[in-house]
Amino acid sequence: MTSVVGAADALDGSTLYDSAARVRVRRTMELARSILSNPTTMAGLILVLALLAMALLAPIITEPNTPDPAQMPRDWGAIAVPPGSPDHLLGTTNTGGDVFYGVVWGSRTSLRLSILVVSITVTVGVIVGSVAGFLGGRVDEILMRIVDVFLSIPELIFALAIAAVLGPAFRNIILALAVVFWVKYARIMRGQVITVKRNDYVDAARVIGDTRLRIFAKDVLPNAITPVVVQATMDMGNIVLVGATLSFIGLAEAGLAEWGVLVAEGQAGISSGRWWASTFPGLMVFLWALGFNLVGDGMRDVLDPRTEKSR
């Protein structure tokens, strides 16, 4: 025993602590490597990174429209130009909107939508689910009945109703999706918390005198959050899909640089051969949803070995 203490003395504090930090870095690297070892995940990640880069670099890729860059620029001299023209790489809509501009700046709109909706829904869902699962009893009963009410209405129709009542604005789409999607997280989180809190290590933490809040933060939350993280990653994609649906049917401001709006704008031309105005933004929605779903799948395989598919 003395030798052990001696060994610890030999290492001064910083060495010992830094070794812990190094171990942590190494583990993170290992985790990253195992996530990336799957080619489909890797493809998804590249896709997602490309889309994110596009959103972030939008002002560099194309000249921002003034005064509001989120609005489509209108070139009334070039209406329904096919793709490939020097000024309009992906052509224009029949109101002179540049499809390329819409595709690039639409990724910004989508990023804003997905980040806002996911962060709101995850926060609300995790709080509600945790409180319900951790406290149990009557609190659980009341919260879950509220969740049931929300679940009893089909997602899309519910979101549609909210957005329609609030009036056509992209902001209201965000709000509508946030109101609809949090229940899913609440349910996932509640189930997880109930499973995790039955573990002996939660009792063990109580035995050493931890407070309930500490037990939640240290024992329950880290062990329960994984499925939420996976679901949130996938929803980063799905929400853009649903959001595009809502703006397609006219719940966003007209002329917004948004993929759903653009698809709607171009759909009239499809039958007369002007395919490009709808196709490119539609493709973007597809790629966005695909990328985040592939990454989410890959994360689930690594983080939750029980659902691992045989590869």
């Binding site: 610890a8 003395d9 910083s14 010992l16 009792d203 035995v207 024992d219 062990n223």
Partner: protein, 427 residues
Amino acid sequence: MTASSSVDVAAGEPRTDPKPVVAVNNLRVHFQVKAGVVEAVDGVNFELLEGETLGLVGETGCGKSVTARSFLGLVPSPPALPPQGTIDYRHRNGGGVVDLLTLDSEAMGDIRGNHIAMIFQDPGKALNPALTVRDQLGEVFLIHRSADVLEGAGFGADDTGLGASLIRRAARLKSGIIERLLLALPPLRNRRNRLRASADRLIMEALADTQIPNPANILDRYPHELSGGMKQRVMIAQALACNPDVLIADEPTTALDVTVQARIIELISQLQRRHNTSVLYISHDLSLVRRVCDRIAVMYAGRIVEIGPADQLFARPKHPYTRGLLAAIPSLASRAGELEAIEGTVPELIDPEPGCRFADRCRHSTEMCLSAEPNLVDVDVGHAVSCFAYAPITGSDQTPPTVADPAPAAASPSPAPARATDDRTAS
């Protein structure tokens, strides 16, 4: 009620005898389920003496774990109804007596960890998979022994200034997010690292105490990277970190293989001798309990049916159930095929019938056993049994059961006499 019973417990003992640390009086823990009330623990009485090892044995579902978990308020409620009776805990160093069942959460928080600790059955489930060994054990020291941690890091109590108070808060795990950021910055970083190193030293001492060969190597491991035996040692180190007066070991070796079992048991008893800890040893493994325990309490269907010194209980078991259990232990002396099983299964504890709960399975039972519940009665010094064969109801016209005294192997093979079972099902 609490006061009077605890005074009896404290005053009644002569000085030389070990004093009871915990006295369980008429403990009842019932569970409300849809089908009725499960009387999982129904009138349990025993004392845990200072420095002794008391074995609590019985079949699965007899209420062993619920009894032990009641000590620490770990019985989930609901479904458990508020427990009845008292569990009187006496602080070792001249402190007063408290009833563990009536403590508020703050007082219970002090008892947990500081005074009563617990080792869990399955080390694989009792360690948080998201924490390294360092984090898992470190917090125990930071919560309960922050003074030692500060001292080990060379911080005196008279240090003043913002830095010192931040460090002191960190040593009690009270730092908020902003404080943690401040501590990570260069002016304080060095002191924080000294604090961490000091905690690490305590962790490694605790691990070395449990015979882990190279504690520094496992500090950064996660539970899934450790073997079962290692995990159990980490658990033990965690449980013993604060030198508890009472250690509850809930089948601490059931999940381990036999070779590791022996070492873990030896380890617990070594640590017990060093700190004069009382151990409540829960097990269904009788041969193991015999080796480890000073006294044994046999539980059946939520009650203690027999309690006594280990040697005596094994040499001269009194209760038919204890005899049945002992007869079911395989030994080298008995030939194959001679193992006796106790017929039947543990009764449903949902709204149980009156009478001795073992009566249905007991080959000696009579009407008396079905009409009333026997109480624990002393049959020898420190050896009590609850069976009408030893203490029939006085003045009753029903015949008490007779249990032949010889060793269990020679117990009479006669079939159970015709009993009132039919009457019961009819009624």
